[in-house]
Symmetry: D2
Subunit: 438 residues, 4 copies
């Protein structure tokens, strides 16, 4: 976790304070169920909630105990006993440490997911606003980095919207993957604790009971979770790369926001670097990389080994904090993105009408000219544009053979940008009206 | 694709024959829609279906044309024209090559997914059968590779069942991710083709129309698809590693099937190697590795670049063929797995009752012995077992201090395996009755 | 392995013919050593070389035997016996299959490396030629995709040269990693074979004897090998991305070769796609991905398990064939790259002198103007260029305050491109004269 | 960076204090060279060294300035000016921030490498000591997890020694990869600074001058560096997995150290978990994962983009700190590893002599018995061992047909373990005497 790439709300989820608070909640909910089942006194459960709920856990004290006991859960329980008093002996009955640790990790991932979902919602809102703003802003579509046919900048953003909406759907599914609770004992057989305790705790925390755990919650769930974050990161990379391309000196169709008074740039006004999207490109690489050790964590030995633990202590915070930071940064970039429609038109006209050559070619063949002759006619005029900077439309209009086949009106019509944008409404309808999410 | 790790049905999906057949279907369905819209004659669409549907495409001939035109789709269309005759000029109107290529790739992935889903169903069936067969076969549960508490072999298999059922759910979602069709032209604006054509083709092929494509179908979908295959592969690895562990010489609680007459082993009857599960462990590494380039494919430049293509020519077949092979192999391994309940008991009793020490400890404290004294009592008897090979139960029964606290009956009761298996029914109910899938 | 991305020489290394030939050589060399040690008759070793050396191994026949024996090495030895006659009983004495398989795999990787080294040499030669050709071709250097300061196109290529020379050095080291031979028996103890046999075979094949093998040659060697291929692939990606950027419509400073007569492009002369470098970008992703399973292969269980085998059957051919194809393709791209110095100048002057603003700023401060005033002076002229398309030099010369601080000559000098290229010779000397390799 | 998995010396390398100290050294060394070249006064260089060298940089103050200037290097230089006084204006002349940042990063990696090399030396020393201690400790070699032939525990450790010695060689090479310095300006052309400054700074810091940099030092170097750490991590995983296997309840041939008085275990003395090696298994996954984004960092755009920066801020510390921690932990595990030779013998004899069956088979054929008959003879006795727990040697001696072919002495000789260990000296000689490193 790098403070520079972190936001406090997400960092808080992974703090010791939050961890111990969640541990307490798991234990206290379990006490409720145990009391209900008659295993422990109801009064004890009540006392535990009251005293523990009001207390602030003393991290230093817990650390001190852990240095002695070399066991984090025991250290916490000892400290809890200092707070709760004699009734503390009813806490954790029949449970194992992993019941607390694994359930807590999933609670943290759930809460992290909620922040990420909120980030995505904000990003979707920003993309939608800007997409409608530029629904009809014509720009050249590019395949292979080469001009192809016109599209609109709004369609570009609509594509991003649709992509992040898919990411949202995926994250909802990923959240459900890890929203499970296990309180099942040393090898998951409930030997020392009634399965109804697990069911109660799960419900209280908004989780499902893990159908069959083996001391640990199975790690295929977490593999799927972190793989999903990797895919979302890849979509962030795509949008970042798009903006970086648009901001290139020679393209300059859009720019990350740069405040007018911002010093350092005005002496070199062209030198505005897309550092935010470059940064996100790098962050995406990191989030993606975390998917791999998560997949390697699946094949734990027999009922469990603990090799996954060190991995998760790292990627749990790192993946969620980094993705949260990148998503939030992207929201800002999109909201404030400087868009230059004039440059879009200027770039599109760089080859003075050549992008319409295929429509002219088609018109000629449809007018009865053989494919070979059509090609020759288009080509000889295209070459004048390419080699001598002429205007394609003017050349075509001045070419007697072309005119013999096509009336002026038809030729001019082939240069109409509206031809390319006529279905933008359909696309927007598909993207923004199909689902009720946003 | 390695023939040794391939099954014909999946290989067929990636054959040139299949590819051209799918191309034809896409084109022919598009003709239907174009005819319906009045763009081309209905008779032409009919002729195309009839002649193309009846034909066998000549791969060599297509290759020959491609060598000349250096364009695979044009080569196919030229060959199709040789088959269909003059009406072929109505094929592919307003479409671009990527419309055919991307939609075809997704059709192939859909069909591959259907085979994989079938594999998973077979694996689930095998796991279920064997799980019920060994529902009450007591075996030691192991954490960290060390004996922990008893469980049953059926519970182990139930865990695997639950895990692969999650894999199935994930694969259904992944299949939906890539079950989209794009017929939207050079930059996805439908400039030259009506969006209704795309909708018709999508429906005819059992797909959704891609809400907004940009010549290509966005690759976040495929990243999610291949990441999901990677997670499934990781679950295969987990089950493989479990079996490899159980087959170790010193453990020998289960073995991959080995026919009695199989030569080569009988002189060294202990030398039966878990080569199938070892093989699957390696195959899992490969399928997992393919997730990464799929994620790197997401950030195509602008509306599209073609860097994803070489990746997909490799991982499309390789990931699906390898996973299909591994899943099918796992079905066989599970169905025929040799299970040795006697060895399970023998291993469990290796330390002559010591696995019950914690229950005895608890009983002593519950009987009013202080925690320190309880510990000392259990320890001194445990040490006799550990160091001198004594029987734990006998030692306890012979220990006057223990007997002073606990009656014989109570001590004996702590050695009852039934204590550990009493909730197996609950677990099975959760796993096998919760969903209606299988 | 995809035929489309393969070259015959590299494919041949991974053919069954080559594999059996190498197996034969390993066995025959071992016979020589065994004969020398008096374990088998010298005549037998001679006969084996003569008959086996002259024979063409019948792949179908070997396959047929393997279907029966289910063991590839035994199948080969049986076929060899059919060729060699009774003396074949002296073949393979005291050896295990892995001795042959692992040594063969390393021989294949060595030979693959030799082809790759040859590819790299060709690429280095092409880069050197083009670098010197464009040593003084001034072009804008870009940081963050934004114009920074001038450099030369030759320096760009010199950078690539230096990078691929490093790749060459790495590949030489990687080749040495896997150039080891193991003939050490079932667990590597030489129980049944004299270590001198291994030493003889190693020497005969140009390898080192593996100091301590355990039936298998340790896989950290192969992990390092495939990781190195992944790094080389990443350098291919970098150069590919550079060319793709330069070929963008708005930049067009260089292009993949496009023959003048090549049809299909002349009607849209701007539509020349950098498909070769895009293709290499994708291939690089694949080669990089293969590094991971190779690293996961390291932790084999105890003396060996066979999980690495399926991985290596895939990545052995796939990584080397793909990298060979990409390197060879890059040679062609560099050799024939179309370079447009005029466009480089045109792009550099897009902001009419603004790239020199920092030198002017420095000159003003050095002339005694305060930093704040200097900044203000540069800024107000820069803004005229940026907002109104003026020429920066002309504006500065017309600005009385600037002129009060700096004589015309000094101002003009700040626009001298030679200032930026004065150390190009030094750079070239460092890159092309430092090592004797090329 | 997780405190739990960190050691202070390595953490210190990545502290702000260390970073600013290195920045200062780079700047001050550059001043020396600039002074020598007459660009700045020699007195100024002297003053800078004196005042800066004596100062403690105030991190909070630098942070405060950075919040204002939004530029880390400028913030540092401003703070340095507060310390050095007027002569500070001679600092950083003609340099760009990346000159400082990139060179500093490489200095940090060099120093991190020195710690890692020291770790490796300690690990090699530990492995060597334990290898010689157990040079003749016979244990069963296992392929596929199944008993194969005897080897010694010393040979196992010698293998690990040889593997980590290779890792050391690789790390030395990786250190050389990143031991380069760049002080070359905005696009690496030395427009504003003499190349001799770079050469001086490089030499002063024990580095090579980067032959051709482009504002940044090329990232193929770092890709190779982090890939190498990934391979070393994989070797740590291998050794960890070996120990985890040996500690399994059923095997128990070795154990991580467990102090006799350590509470918590004595009531369940079998429950000693290999948590350290499990932990290292997970840490290895992380270090390996960091290789990927490092490879993706290679393809920066044109002369540089800054996408690599966020990646390196994470993996620079995380990879080196984690690997250092894992290596140091492994040193402790090996030094204190509890080894149980008696259990090794007990396990080896689990199948009462069956591991010698192949030698008996060979002896029979060598004595003239046909291969089929030999097989049948061995098999019928082997089966008595396998199925009825007989002793293989006794059965053979009691088998008249066997005895007809082989004298008792010969049969007994086939059960001699010395046969398998006779070349251990040769192996040790190869491993421990071949290189002069340790």
């Amino acid at each position: 976790m790098i403070p520079r790439y972190s936001r406090p709300e997400m960092v808080a989820i992974w703090s010791p304070e939050m961890k111990f608070r969640i541990w307490f909640e798991i234990e206290a909910h379990a006490c409720d169920a145990l009391a209900e089942l008659g295993v422990i006194p109801k009064e004890a459960a009540k006392t535990i909630w009251e005293k523990g709920g009001a207390a602030t856990f003393d991290i230093d004290r817990i650390d001190e105990i852990e240095r002695e006991t070399k066991h984090d859960v025991i250290a916490f329980l000892t400290h809890l006993a200092e707070i709760v008093g004699p009734d503390a002996r009813f806490v954790h009955q029949g449970m194992t440490s992993s019941d607390v640790l694994d359930t807590c990790f999933n609670v943290q991932l759930m809460r992290a997911s909620d922040i990420l979902l909120d980030d995505l919602d904000k990003l979707l809102a920003a993309l939608k606003t800007r997409a409608f703003e530029h629904k009809d802003t014509v720009t050249i579509g590019r395949s292979h980095g080469i001009h192809a046919e016109p599209t609109t900048f709004g369609v570009k953003l609509a594509q991003a919207y649709a992509e992040f909406e898919r990411c949202r759907t995926r994250l909802v599914a990923a959240r459900a993957e890890i929203a499970t609770c296990a309180i099942s004992g040393a090898v998951g057989t409930f030997a020392n604790i009634d399965p109804r305790v697990e069911e109660h705790v799960a419900k209280a925390l908004g989780m499902q009971a893990e159908p069959v755990s083996t001391q640990v919650i199975p790690r295929d769930r977490h593999a799927m979770y972190f793989a999903t974050l990797g895919v979302i990161a890849s979509s962030i990379e795509r949008l970042s790369v798009e903006i970086r391309h648009l901001q290139r000196t020679e393209v300059l169709e859009a720019e990350e926001y740069f405040s007018p008074g911002q010093k350092g740039s005005s002496a070199m006004p062209h030198k505005r670097n897309p550092v935010l999207t470059e940064n996100m490109t790098g962050l995406a690489r990191m989030v993606r990389a975390f998917a791999l050790p998560a997949m390697e964590n699946v094949a734990l030995w027999h009922e469990r080994d603990i090799s996954h633990s060190s991995v998760e202590r790292m990627i749990g915070p790192d993946a969620t904090i980094t993705l949260d930071f990148a998503l939030a940064r992207m929201v800002g970039v999109i909201e404030k993105l400087l868009v230059y429609p004039d440059n879009m038109l200027k770039n599109m006209n760089k080859f003075r009408g050549l992008i319409h050559s295929q429509r002219v070619l088609l018109a000629l063949t449809q007018a009865g000219v053989s494919r070979e002759d059509s090609y020759r006619l288009v080509q000889r005029n295209a070459m004048k544009v390419w080699e001598h900077g002429k205007d394609f439309l003017e050349e075509l209009l001045a070419d007697a053979d072309v005119r013999a086949a096509l009336p002026e009106e038809t030729i001019r019509e082939k240069f109409d940008l509206g031809y390319h944008t006529k279905h933008v409404d359909t696309i927007f309808k598909r993207v923004f009206e199909a689902t009720g999410n946003n």
